[in-house]
Symmetry: C2
Subunit: 150 residues, 2 copies
Amino acid sequence: MKSKNFFMQEAIKEAEKAKEKDEVPVGCVIVKNDKIISRAHNLTIRTNDPTAHAEILAIKKAAKKTNNYRLTNCDMYVTIEPCPMCAGALIWARIDRVFYGACDKKAGACGSVINITNNNKFNHTIKIESGILQKRCSKLIKNFFKEKRK
Amino acid sequence: MKSKNFFMQEAIKEAEKAKEKDEVPVGCVIVKNDKIISRAHNLTIRTNDPTAHAEILAIKKAAKKTNNYRLTNCDMYVTIEPCPMCAGALIWARIDRVFYGACDKKAGACGSVINITNNNKFNHTIKIESGILQKRCSKLIKNFFKEKRK
């Protein structure tokens, strides 16, 4: 079994690809049976698409690949806490668990601002674990915006 | 100026297209300066994509068309209350107003289950008006599931 840190490292590689493209550095991977079945990074600016967050792109790829729009028994590793849009998509996709690096105090929907992923009013809840390689995930995004402000 | 009912009628036409394809009948249009700039219907099953809700598809099309991932001064008319994923996408797209037909007691994120569109913790709020051609919008979806259960 590969470690949580291993998969988060892969998510960070994706975030770094976003950074190279001058996109907000968020990356993720979707894991099934200890294998990465899909990976993506944020591409909102380049694709001119407000929905092109890493998580949405990875979900779409994984659904195509598994030929199933329900990603049962799949986990997501993502560098930053998912926003309401992505958390909602993760519920529709029936993702099992989400492991994220850094909290998003402005838009986090797994507990930081609101809690969509663990709300019994919805027909699916997602197990959440935060803080995986947190410092690296957080630094990536903080440095990006620091550079931007210069 | 065209009426709200006019635009909702167009959203209903989209929902009917979804129904013909055996997809959950939800449809929407995005309106700017009294003109429809994008229209879409739910396509989750056919495209094998849990994110292919009418609202997400319409946002993507409108962003491509206006060459701007922010849909400022745009309104959405949608037959059913947006879910968390779509409500989140509408915030990222900076949509001005959402007019919807019927409430969604199971997944509505504009007040029915949770309220994402009017939450001051997020950096954008959306004006909501519900009940436009409500009976027709509601009947479309209720009849669809009634047929399914047979």
